[in-house]
Symmetry: C2
């Protein structure tokens, strides 16, 4: 039996190391897919796309020899280092241990949200902790109060400062009964210095927290075991506020028009959405909702105000002042959030303008503020937040990139769920040949954000659109896929017969425009941040692409369409839902929470809307990759090579 050990090579890997015992002589790709490792494999294991690259660290003697196909796809240096195409590497012997490393760039799809474990190693030190106490019974010689009895035990056990410990009031009401029913053996839950529950017996294993990343379009929730730090289960849903407006400005307008009542509606909607996630996760993990002792939330400043029910009007107008900068802790019950009756909801601090707690979460998850090297982090969403800097200084901006990548305003757009095409390739030699990969490997029913990036990049590479994003009618000669419909030109990605729908899946001229606007916003933000910080492209050592959507995009295609400045690909790292990760870190670590508060003070906010160069830069960035081609020399060189 072969014991296959899998390691992931990125520091931001979302997987813990895993092992599997194998009893059949099959390809490593098959084994890895069986293990839930979602390797890219556009060609379906035929050894021609070269995407399922892995590195064999030990045990290569149990595998077949490197095949001719691999020699074509891999460089001699790579082969020398142990790289193989996993679809071509086959187990020959069934005795021994094979250690395999999977580079992040070979990973594809599967909701990162559903992945267990903590990405970044931090000491498990949550604000909320449980202590099992065996208390001395009161006697006439020691008739001191029930309260003192508990506090003394906590001091003995944990050295907590007596004067600062206090009881959450409502819990005192039944305290005398609980102590006596529990025969003086109880579990006390402390949040900071506050005792928020006293339970009979030893319940120290039942302690959970819930982290939520409130996006403008999507909300993701994570149920975390506060004793082990482990994320048990996660879930995502649309932000139910979306029917009141797709972006932050339109939601604020709704509130201004409808007054307090409108604000209350929006507050209730998001609470309903979060509660749905809580119930879903608790159901899956068989955890009781009242065992959730703390909630931690992140989201942009508008999400913060709407969630807390705070009047958001002034965020939408110059000088775009937030109401609360620091982290705020509110009784979950007061907000309507399901959990322990004395749970609090901590909303992480914000930075300024629309740059909110989600960005603070990205900062603590990526350690930008502690890094020697200069880092750019791009958290792509309906609002895209960008950070640039290192421990010397970090500046942040928010770009209104819109919800296109999340499926909105795109004719066949959809979220990254089963049936969504997530990867598209148009054969540059024959544009009639379009390959695609669908989530869940079912018949396609739409396009998710990563596919949109691939499509625009491919349309441009193949000359189907020009650098203004306009379809090239001439190309209709070469393929039936490009055609004129009632609403204008469109390109067919999947023919009706191959889909799960009653029509062809197409990408329209309008869809191209939507992607141009989105990518131009993100590019402009990145560019102006570089200008304002004085940090040049070359000085940036790492570009981190975050966001649920960011996790699936092809960094090369994204760069090709000009979504961000032209960094070398090796500097680009895809890190998944870093905001969610930051929220989970704040849930399990007080230190990370302190770092978040620090970050909120240290990071400088750049208001793009008020920047004198914004409009000019934005208009130039609408071009593919950019109106000023000299900013994308490598890309232009590649394109010219393709044209030849």
């Amino acid at each position: 039996m072969v014991n296959l050990r899998v390691k992931f090579s990125s520091g931001y890997s979302t997987f813990p190391p895993v092992e599997k015992e194998v009893t059949k002589k099959v390809s490593l790709l098959n084994v890895l897919l069986d293990m839930g490792v979602n390797l890219t494999s556009i060609c379906g294991g035929k050894g021609v796309c070269g995407k399922c690259k892995i590195k064999v660290n030990s045990g290569k003697e149990y595998l077949n020899k490197v095949t001719p196909l691999e020699h074509k796809q891999l460089s001699p240096k790579e082969i020398n280092e142990g790289y193989r195409l996993s679809c071509r590497a086959v187990l020959e012997s069934l005795e021994g241990v094979v250690e395999v490393e999977v580079p992040q760039t070979s990973l594809l799809r599967k909701q990162v949200l559903q992945v267990k474990g903590v990405e970044k190693k931090v000491e498990i030190n949550p604000l909320v902790k449980k202590y099992f106490l065996q208390l001395p019974k009161p006697t006439l010689n020691s008739p001191y109060s029930d309260e003192d009895r508990i506090i003394n035990a906590l001091i003995d056990k944990e050295g907590v400062a007596r004067e600062r410990i206090r009881f959450s009031f409502p819990l005192l009401r039944d305290l005398p009964k609980i102590l006596r029913d529990g025969k003086w053996e109880v579990t006390v839950t402390l949040r900071g210095n506050e005792i928020i529950s006293v339970e009979k017996g030893d319940t120290t294993n039942e302690i959970y927290g819930f982290a939520v990343d409130v996006g403008t379009t999507k909300v993701a929730g994570f149920l975390v075991n506060l004793k082990t730090g482990e994320t048990l289960v996660s879930s995502a849903t649309m932000n139910p506020q979306i029917v009141y407006g797709e972006d932050v400005i339109s939601r604020i307008s709704y509130v201004i028009e409808n007054g307090e009542k409108g604000l209350e509606e929006l507050q209730k909607e998001i609470v309903k959405g979060i509660n749905k996630l809580i119930l879903d996760c608790c159901g899956k993990a068989r955890v009781k909702e009242e065992e959730i002792y703390e909630h931690v939330l992140v989201g942009n400043t508008c999400m913060q105000l709407l969630f807390l029910g705070i009047w958001p009007q002034y965020l939408a107008f110059s000088p775009y002042t937030p109401v609360i900068r620091r982290g705020i802790s509110v009784e979950s019950e007061k907000l309507g959030i399901i959990g322990h009756p004395r749970s609090k909801t901590y909303f992480l601090p914000v930075i300024g303008g629309f740059v909110g707690a989600d960005n603070v979460a990205v900062i603590i998850a990526t350690d930008i503020l502690e890094s020697e090297k200069k880092i750019m982090a791009i958290d792509i969403g309906t609002n895209t937040e960008i950070d640039l800097g290192n421990k010397e200084q970090v500046m942040a901006a928010s770009c209104a990139s819109g919800p296109a990548f999340e499926g909105m305003h795109i004719k066949h757009g959809m979220k990254a769920a089963e049936g969504a095409i997530e990867r598209v390739n148009i054969n540059p030699f024959n544009v009639d040949i379009v390959d695609y990969v669908t989530i869940g490997e079912t018949e396609p029913i739409g396009l998710c954000g990563s596919a949109m990036v691939d499509i625009v990049a491919n349309l441009y590479k193949t000359g189907l659109i020009n650098n203004k994003g306009t379809f090239n009618k001439e190309m209709m000669k070469e393929t039936e896929r490009l055609r004129k419909a009632s609403e204008g030109y469109e390109f067919v990605i999947a023919w009706k017969k191959d889909t799960g729908m009653n029509e062809d899946i197409v990408f329209t001229q309008k869809d191209v425009r939507e992607i141009q606007k989105a990518k131009a916003a993100i590019y402009t933000g990145s560019y102006l941040l570089m200008q304002e910080t004085g940090i040049k492209e070359k000085e940036i050592n790492k570009v981190l692409i975050a966001g649920a959507f960011g996790n699936y995009i092809d960094p090369e295609n994204a760069r090709l369409i000009g979504m961000y400045p032209e960094f070398p690909l090796k500097k680009i790292e895809v890190i998944g839902n870093a905001a969610g990760t930051g929220a989970r870190l704040a849930l399990i670590s007080k230190e990370m929470r302190n770092k978040a508060e620090e970050a909120s003070k240290k990071v400088k906010y750049l208001e793009l809307g008020a920047h004198k160069n914004f409009n000019n830069e934005y208009l130039k960035a609408l071009y593919i990759p950019h109106k000023e081609e000299k900013r994308f020399p490598e890309t232009i060189k590649l394109l010219e090579k393709l044209k030849m």
Copy 2:
């Protein structure tokens, strides 16, 4: 015009110094009564009772000479020192200044509760404070948050620690509107480090607090200006819980029998009672209820638990453990208490058993814990708390003295209100002559506690009852006032024709028994405290009698019936509602609050119920003054003198 300045000689005086301009040649008694100084005057200004004694410090040249009647009532030493009977001292000239000092012992009646001002001088430093802030408007160059804007201003103004200041959550909801409506000029209310309100404009003058003394039978409330420290108005009412049981044990029994529902009923009743006081005081002082930013409560441990809605069962059984010892601060709204929506109610710490926050309040009002001299403080009520000690050690006990002094279980008993007889004298040479004084000088309708003490003392002095408290039938020969009614022997205090009622006001054999039980409980507590602390009668420098009722009693008569050990009268001082005073002090001074928390830790609790000598001592103390006559040598000497 004579300018009369009045000073009060006791350190525990409940009055501030006062002045009055006089334009008529009248007696000082008349002037003082006009000024609201309630001098004792049993004889109605005839110069025969000797009770209206005052001391003239300067300006005696503007008065008549000392009269022969005064020479009879005052000692040569007193006359030498300037003492006069105020009813006999008449203004002869109307030009000049007369300075008069009124000894506490000459003061009578008038609800102490209604007196303005702070008895004890403390620096006004309440936990809740208001600050008027003029904030810089946000601009694109300083777009920091509304929250930071307020916090920065507070730091500049008051040097408060940034990290510790936090906003009470609900207030944030309208914060952006309030700041802009108020054109960035606002008044911020801080409770400790928590911002609990932000109001438009300058409202620093509107800041009030409410102090409450929750007695088992009576509840007293005080509306206090937190800027000046002044008590504006006060009010008192019966504790509405009384219908559920007259004493703490019967109320706890009610809760045990009726469960959570019963506890909720009792909680709601007391809240209703307190709210009545708040509305009453606010109405009188024309203060809006929402301008009350903090409530401070005192009461015994049972009152504490019932007010907070905490299960009280275990307080009633050995080892009589309280639930919470330390002071506790709860959102007033959560408790149902009227005030500012973010007001908190602080219940002072307790000591142990039934010795509660009311006793802690007495301790901070009387400085026992800072005193070199040894002090005994007796706070008489349905539960009587006694403290004994000095800064070295203080021990406290609680005696179930019952509600007799508050009018309960006494045939014609009533509270100290208009129409209540408060002072009684039976002529020792002719027991048919009974003098009495009525509150409000109206026709009598009942007897208040102080009258009961006078009656029992007089009945005993005149031989109408013996040392077991039994009426002496033989005395029926000497007066028709002693008679046998259907329920046993009784003594007529006021004949029907002189009352405002349809019957004679009498004091029955059963009434005598009730007073015996009450005074025996108090004596036993005092005695056992002396035994346990090892402090002897002679070492005690001061005996402070507190309690609304304690304020009216005649210390000599109280001693004569054996309510407390036989201290020299000059050591006894009547200090009024010291528990209420302590509550008010905690309201206006953080330092006093800290002292209260200290007291709760330092003072030792003596459980009388479990004391081996309690029953034996109590039975001996039922005698008048005591079964062991040698414990009352002076009293016995006096009585023997009277018999001659």
